[in-house]
């Protein structure tokens, strides 16, 4: 049971992260493969701020806001490219961010990581036990889901969908497409940033390996498996993909085999979905 609570803390954090990515890829049509960079930026921001004595609620918001500040930068850098090239450039952004986490030793301690990150202290109430953390992350995930649901079912959400389907038509209606894309990416980055903060304060330790290619593939898998532009799909897929490899635990594999088998399972699962169910579990559109 404690283990299940632990898994659901992960699931709640990943839902926040994946909802953001689905907002980019599914709702707005930006194939962003650098989403994990925002997660890392949020985690490091929150960890470093709280260790410097900043109260958790402030550090938590700062993690989201600071991550969101990188959205205009990324959008500006990639303004001339679309499709495959956008995917490539955003992947580049992710890898450069990872390289910075790894090499800016004086700030991030490089591969050694940052230990001893304090548990969230919300105006005197410390979220410390597993069950408290479970309730805390699930509440935040619920709030995020509700807000994003409101957003995507509003006129604004329809506008984002229109960018995905026909960017030129939206521009011809006099809408500022670039600004809408930046806003959408900034919201996604904010969500990734707070997800980063949550996971950093839960595990109490961060290092650069959590913000590398395997994490990118996992989170992209969640969005594709769940289906583009489907909040329900993302939630179901997150639960499924976090719990799926747990089945491997019953086979009793040595840990050196367990890691790669898990990743292999994700790769095969993603390929099967792409081949046999291209719209994912609950998807409404297909990636163009």
């Amino acid at each position: 049971m404690p283990y299940l609570t632990h898994l659901f803390v992960y699931i709640a954090t990943y839902i926040i992260l994946a909802i953001g990515l689905n907002l980019s890829i599914g709702f707005t049509g930006l194939l962003n493969l650098g989403h994990v960079a925002f997660l890392g930026i949020g985690a490091y921001t929150s960890a470093l701020l709280t260790l410097a004595g900043v109260p958790f609620p402030l550090a938590f918001l700062a993690a989201g806001i600071f991550a969101a500040l990188f959205a205009p930068l990324l959008m500006y850098l990639t303004k001339n490219v679309r499709g495959d090239y956008l995917a490539l450039s955003t992947l580049g952004f992710g890898l450069v961010a990872h390289a910075v986490f790894l090499n800016w030793i004086s700030l991030t301690h490089g591969p050694l990581g940052i230990p001893g990150i304090p548990r969230p202290d919300i105006f005197g109430f410390v979220v410390s036990s597993r069950i408290e953390f479970f309730l805390f992350t699930v509440t935040i995930a619920g709030i995020v889901l509700f807000i994003i649901w409101l957003l995507t079912s509003s006129r604004y959400g329809t506008l984002l969908g229109a960018i995905r389907d026909d960017e030129l038509a939206v521009a011809m209606l006099g809408k500022n497409v670039m600004r809408l894309k930046i806003q959408s990416l900034a919201i996604a980055a904010f969500l990734a940033g707070i997800a980063g903060s949550l996971s950093a304060h839960y595990i109490t330790y961060i290092d650069p390996t959590a913000y590398d290619i395997p994490e990118i593939i996992f989170i992209v898998s969640v969005v594709i498996v769940g289906g583009l532009a489907s909040l329900r799909g993302t939630v179901v897929a997150t639960i499924l993909l976090v719990l799926l490899p747990e089945a491997l635990r019953f086979v009793d594999l040595p840990s050196s085999v367990l890691g790669p088998s898990r990743q292999l399972l994700y790769a095969v699962f993603l390929l099967l979905i792409l081949l046999y169910r291209p719209r994912g579990l609950f998807g409404t559109v297909e990636l163009e």
Binding site: L31, L33, L77, T78, N80, V81, R82, G83, D84, Y85, A87, L88, S89, G92, F93, L95, V96, A99, V100, L102, N103, G110, I213, P214, I216, I217, V220, S221, I224, S256, V257, G259, P260, S261, Q263, L264, Y266, A267, V268, L270, L271, L274, L275, P278, E286, L287, E288
Partner: protein
């Protein structure tokens, strides 16, 4: 002299990147999607050589052929079993790109499962003292790598330029629909470029295995250099891919002069982003409006 040494290192690295990049570029130009797992095909070649030579005890030349064959079959397999079915049901290039990422992950972890995470060293050529050319120290093995790489690049250039097969490939790359109207079986040519590209990846794998240790993660690092070289040079242009790869090799070695070595992979990406920003068509690419 540091300067000439950096140039030499850049050219050696560039020779390997160029082989990776031309295969990637060949596949991209006819198929119009990014084959992300191409670097892992290089890794399969490198492990093939190591396995054939040290485990199966094959003679060196046979091991090389074995390595190239394994790489060829793996690359061909990705096309036959994954990309082709996806293309047949009309998947977009973004879907194919994500399938490529999944394949990249698949091969990386498969190698990790079969061979473990320890580095594999091939001690075929004894390490001898390097020669000093214009102030740079290079080993005969490194000269061999540059020469062999240039040889295969020239062969490829010749084939693409003068043979019927090369001309057909270029026709499909230029305009698949027109080539089809002209009676070319475009799908066959697309498959053929996967076969040829993967064989070249196998050769690159052999050269990498000779020069450095093989690790399960080498494919990812190589594809980053490979597609950066290809994109910087102008992705549908093979000479451009070669030029871009040497540029990447040189820039990352000069970059390592004043940045920590951990930034080496990031430098390649910095170059890529710079090019996408300033000259999206690459050095020798043709600008056709915005790149789709």
């Amino acid at each position: 002299m540091v300067f000439s040494q950096l140039i030499a290192n850049g050219l050696i690295a560039g020779s390997i990147y160029a082989l990776v990049a031309v295969g990637f570029s060949l596949i991209y130009s006819t198929n119009r999607f990014m084959h992300f797992a191409h670097g892992n095909i290089v890794a399969v070649g490198a492990y093939g050589l190591w396995y054939g030579f040290t485990r199966l005890g094959l003679p060196f030349v046979v091991s090389v052929l074995f390595a190239v064959a394994v790489a060829l079959v793996s690359g061909w397999g990705t096309y036959r079993f994954i990309y082709l079915p996806l293309k047949r049901r009309g998947a977009s290039s973004s879907i194919l790109l994500i399938a490529g990422l999944a394949l990249m992950f698949f091969f990386e972890n498969l190698i990790l499962l079969i061979f473990g995470s320890s580095v594999k060293t091939l001690n075929y050529f004894p390490t001898v003292r390097g020669l000093t050319i214009l102030g740079a120290t290079v080993t005969p093995r490194q000269i061999g790598i540059v020469v062999i790489s240039l040889f295969f690049l020239l062969v490829l250039w010749f084939v693409m330029r003068y043979t019927k097969m090369g001309i057909t490939i270029r026709a499909v790359a230029g305009h698949a629909e027109l080539a089809r109207i002209g009676g070319v079986n475009a799908e066959r040519i697309q498959e053929l470029s996967f076969i040829v590209g993967s064989a070249i990846a196998g050769i690159a794998g052999v050269l990498v295995a000779l020069e450095q240790n093989s690790t399960p993660f080498m494919g990812t690092a190589l594809i980053i250099k490979g597609f950066t070289g290809a994109v910087v040079g102008g992705i549908t242009s093979l000479p451009g891919a070669v030029l871009g790869s040497y540029l990447v090799g040189l820039v990352e070695n000069f970059g390592a002069w004043f940045l920590p070595s951990g930034y080496k992979d990031a430098i390649a990406f910095g170059v890529l982003v710079l090019f996408l920003l300033l000259r999206p068509a690459g050095i020798l690419g043709v600008t056709k409006g915005v790149r789709e």
